[in-house]
């Protein structure tokens, strides 16, 4: 009798502990087994250890240092090629892509505008390090460390020369892509760069069919139009382009001085070699003035036009955001009760989920309104930015800079080192060539 009483207390205490342990009361309490059954353990697999993420950053720094050394000091194309292969294997197939520097710019935008998001240091490093290298040595990251660029690079076989206007026109896409990516990341809507990454499926050897098709198309185009994604889509390339323009030690085609031999003229598959001008034309002061005035009218007009367009489309831009879409759907339902009774109407699952969560609708509306306001500003900024880029592209097309030598265009040059092999001027035979001259 006494023992039983004690047992009851014990059970009661265990029960109390259990209740304290989990707040939810259970419909069917866990049985106490009389047989020798041992309860199975819930298995929790552990994610990839953090140390490996830091190792990735180290490998990134090492790969960048080696490739920069190969380009600038060794002037070795074959070395760059082997680094590309290494990047495809390590950053591509082994690491399976994420986080890559291209995608990391969205994490940066998210972190800058959402204090709730604590950006991991490794992601920050993946964003910053290639930019710093670009600021000093040009786009050596693009040359062979970026796995997206590397896979396209090894597919280059018979590159076509694109005319300038096509290059300039397609070259506007990355700016728009960059603007949209930042807008959607900053409003924590979506990471569009990651969503439409064409090569991640290959690296994971596991993707939707549409992803394979997209990647396949890009690789097929790569055979004839070198690196289409890098040149006409990559939003991170925009930043690298800017930083590379002002880089301190950018690679040169010739190791010493250019002799205008034209041998490298067609060597660049990316159309990034600036060709010297045959005659030095001096623009008259009148022309310069005229151009300056025209541009200073056109550029602000384009910016204003872009801003206005961005404002007009802010609602369309905002509807990509699931929260805004949900608010619109619920609003539709509430203002138009007839549609629910319509047998054709299927209630979106999002509304069902929202109702089951018990969140008040007014709160959703205010959150959606806040987002709409953000998109209003963001859309205007995006439009203005695109307008500015259009204007600057026009300006760069109309300004003329006299050039005597064959030079890589520091912005567009991907530092792949192909042109170097075409240059007959060597360190050793410099004297010989001079004699010939």
């Amino acid at each position: 009798m006494k023992i039983q009483y004690k047992n009851t207390i014990l059970v009661f205490i265990i029960g109390l502990i259990l209740i304290a342990f989990d707040a939810q009361s259970q419909r069917f309490p866990k049985p106490e087994f009389e047989s020798e059954y041992v309860q199975a353990q819930t298995q929790i697999p552990i994610p990839r250890v953090d140390a490996l993420e830091y190792l990735d950053v180290l490998v990134l720094i090492l790969a960048l240092s080696v490739i920069t050394w190969l380009i600038l000091k060794k002037r070795s194309r074959i070395g760059v090629f082997w680094i590309s292969i290494f990047s495809i294997i390590y950053f591509g197939f082994y690491r399976e892509g994420c986080v890559c520097s291209v995608g990391s710019l969205q994490n940066i935008a998210l972190a800058l505008f959402n204090p709730g998001y604590k950006i991991p240091l490794t992601v920050l490093a993946f964003f910053i390090i290639p930019l710093l290298f670009s600021l000093f040595f040009g786009r050596t990251f693009c040359a062979g460390v970026c796995p997206l660029g590397a896979i396209q690079d090894i597919f280059i076989w018979k590159p076509m020369k694109l005319s300038t206007w096509i290059q300039k026109l397609l070259g506007l896409i990355p700016f728009i892509y960059l603007g949209l990516a930042i807008l959607y990341a900053a409003t924590s809507t979506d990471f569009i760069i990651c969503r439409y990454d064409p090569f991640i499926g290959f690296y994971r050897i596991n993707a939707e069919f549409s992803m394979y098709v997209l990647g396949g198309i890009f690789l097929a185009i790569s055979i004839f139009i070198a690196r289409p994604y890098c040149r006409f889509f990559c939003p991170y390339g925009v930043l690298l382009n800017w930083f590379s323009r002002i880089s301190k030690y950018h690679m040169t085609i010739t190791p010493t001085s250019c002799i205008q031999c034209k041998l490298c003229e067609n060597s660049c598959p990316f159309g990034a070699i600036d060709i010297p001008d045959s005659v030095k034309l001096k623009e008259t002061r009148k022309d310069t003035k005229k151009r300056f005035i025209t541009l200073s009218i056109i550029i602000p007009v384009l910016i204003l036009l872009g801003t206005w367009t961005g404002y007009q489309f802010h609602e369309n831009l905002a509807l990509v955001n699931p929260k805004v879409r949900l608010a619109y759907n619920i609003y539709d339902q509430e203002t138009n009760p007839n549609i629910i009774t319509d047998p054709q109407y299927i209630e979106p699952i999002e509304i069902e989920a929202f109702r089951s969560s018990g969140q008040p609708v007014t709160q959703l509306y205010s959150e959606a309104n806040e987002l709409l306001n953000k998109f209003k500003i963001g859309g205007m900024l995006l439009g203005g930015f695109i307008g500015l880029i259009f204007g600057l592209t026009l300006a760069s097309l109309s300004t003329f800079r006299y050039r005597e030598d064959y030079e890589p265009n520091k912005g567009n040059c991907l530092s792949c080192a192909r042109c170097m092999d075409f240059c007959p001027v060597g360190d050793e035979n410099e004297l010989l060539v001079k004699d010939l001259k």
């Binding site: 069917f28 087994f33 059954y37 552990i46 994610p47 910053i128 930019l131 994971r204 989920a353 969560s357």
Partner: protein, 195 residues
Amino acid sequence: MDNNKIKKVNRRDFLNKSLRISAGIAIGGVAAYLIKDSSTEDLVWQLDPSLCIQCGKCVTNCVVTPSAVKCVHVYDMCGYCDLCGGYFRADAKQLTTGAENQLCPTGAIDRQFIEDPFFEYKIIEDLCIGCGKCVAGCGAFGNGSLQLQVRHDLCVNCNQCNIATHCPADAFSRVPRSKNTIFKGFSGSEFLNKT
């Protein structure tokens, strides 16, 4: 003429240099601003079972096939019922392991007799596709010990989880690596991690 040329070069160099310095400061500024609010730990994706509505989108929207979201059995919450809402269809004729009685479309739940009247249910993860049918059944009729979770040995940790963008209940979020599980009604994740 020559003098002019030298001047021009100098101006370009000067411009480049000042731009380079300001760009360096800009990068450094962004880094410094973000570092103070950064985490040394990596983030992983996890879904909150208390928000999950078992819509079944985890099956098709994961970039990994089959999905990295699996049903996880929290044994500490299980009632070991004979009539398991997660195992049997609502219209099951008999309480046997016959395929026609099972709720799971892939037969990924293993039912073992322990002692009268208790049965143990184990998830065979290789077969589980993360549809959440059993989770819905267990939540409706039982203790809710079956819960969907992202399995981090399978998850490739995309920068943006594709399921998260499609989740109608907004149940996915980035969580620190050390707190990589979220269970409903059970707070033993740290304890579980150690074992």
